[in-house]
Symmetry: C2
Subunit: 290 residues, 2 copies
């Protein structure tokens, strides 16, 4: 059983804490209910159980996926966010960022591969790629597999994330070892705005949690225009999208929004990542600029 687990909770005052053996230090709890999922509005927020020694990934009130924390490996706080890494029973190491599950060693590859390869394979010989977020390094690892690529910029705001992944997830952070990779510790939007027009063949976004809910980010005209400007004509943007299983399915709206800025094709694809099963079953949107 983990020994040093802090409370990572959005509703600590409303937790139903009970049990003589209960120690608030043993509770790790989060919720994604307010993370842009409008459908969760109106649902009661005071209905969470307590699971000492388990991490609860609360999709919305009344439902959660829980993982036993066999061992807490890292816990730290940067100026931007809080990161927790634990060893799970079945999925290897699990990373929790600001209470949200980021990845498990078991299935991270599916997410990283889907965000990378459809985009890079959709145009011939991509040479210059920008990754916004993605500090774990997994998408870098996948980009590095494309021999046509000559230069990879990664703009990650939080160096703690990079440090922790390099230390505890070497198979993911291996992406940093490619000499084509250039790391920029900066805010992604500021970085995109700073690069000359038409710099990149491909831009991959993996930074929605700090930037905001998926649907809102992809509805932000100014942001999309900045990305489109940073891409060369014919360049491609790849980003996570919402799930076809969400009750307020907004992908049609997202595609309509994106089409106003990206004059090329806008495509929606999806795969399964068990870790994200309830959240978005990993859907992706690919946009090209013409």
């Amino acid at each position: 059983m983990a020994k040093e687990i802090s409370v990572v909770s959005q509703y600590p005052s409303k937790l139903q804490v009970q049990g003589e053996n209960f120690d608030p230090k043993n509770l790790v709890m989060t919720t994604a209910a307010d993370n842009g999922k409008k459908e969760s509005n109106g649902a009661p927020k005071d209905t969470y159980p307590a699971f000492p020694g388990w991490y609860a990934d609360v999709s919305w009130p009344g439902e959660a996926h829980i993982y036993k924390m066999e061992k807490i490996i890292f816990q730290g706080k940067s100026e931007f966010q809080e990161l927790l890494v634990f060893e799970s029973s079945r999925h290897g190491k699990v990373a929790i960022l600001d209470g949200y599950i980021q990845l498990t060693e078991n299935d991270e590859f599916a997410y990283q591969e889907m965000l990378t390869h459809l985009a890079l394979c959709s145009i011939p010989n991509p040479k210059k790629v920008l990754l916004v977020g993605g500090g774990d390094g997994g998408i870098l690892r996948e980009i590095s597999r494309h021999s046509s690529v000559e230069h990879i910029d990664i703009c990650e705001i939080d160096k703690m994330v990079i440090h922790v992944y390099k230390k505890f997830f070497p198979d993911i952070a291996v992406g940093y070892e490619d000499p084509r990779v250039h790391v920029h510790i900066r805010d992604g939007i500021a970085f995109i705005n700073s690069v000359p027009e038409g710099t990149y063949d491909v831009i991959i976004l993996d930074a929605f949690q700090p930037m905001g809910p998926i649907a809102e980010v992809l509805a932000d005209k100014c942001f999309l225009e900045s990305v489109a400007k940073a891409l060369r004509p014919g360049g491609v943007l790849s980003a996570p999208a919402d799930s076809l299983w969400l009750k307020n399915f907004v992908v049609a709206d997202t595609i309509a929004n994106c089409k106003k800025i990206f004059k090329g094709s806008v495509n929606y694809a999806w795969t399964t990542v068990p870790t994200y099963a309830r959240h978005f079953l990993s859907n992706y949107i690919y946009l090209s600029k013409f």
Copy 2:
């Protein structure tokens, strides 16, 4: 909060029961760890938390999906199994059979549609269909949508299941209202063995929990020979299959086994059913006899 909830657990003696407000009557817990998932062998079985008022769908030790039981609607035991129906916070009514989650109103359609339509659409004008299990009626509902079908037999061993679904899940059990449906309360294997050779155009299996683990049932030569005998030449069998996310991925073996008996094509297809996300992400196998 539910008032009359019994303990439905495979490991009641090993539960870590704690908390002054804890009432064993409020615990509903199950595990699918021993349901043919060999990969779970060797994992500790004494590592479940207690969640009063929540149903825990334990994929394997150390991981579970939990649903808050807003209201217990039905609880009963037949000579074959125990059935629990509760109202969940987000997924409508949820049915639990012998501790295993059967379906939620939210996404049952995806499972029923996939088991039915690929099979019935794979041959021209299917006329006679057998459903083994599927007592909820949802697959009947889907079969009924095919106008070429003249006769539908359902062989369900447990009339309690039919009764409960008709009473509490009218949108699913609506399948029974079709006049082409003939209900047989019998053991499925005995029924298949009793019908004349070449009786059916399509046989759909939805009875694996009572029959055994998916991989084992589809590796049983005698059973597959019985099914093949009951099908007309060119007829099709449709059945759930294992997930591509299971660590001991056995679908290739299953297909190889089935090909020995079914001389036609053997195809594997999959969709997503959030309820089954960890278990098998709803995969299906379609076999035709030539």
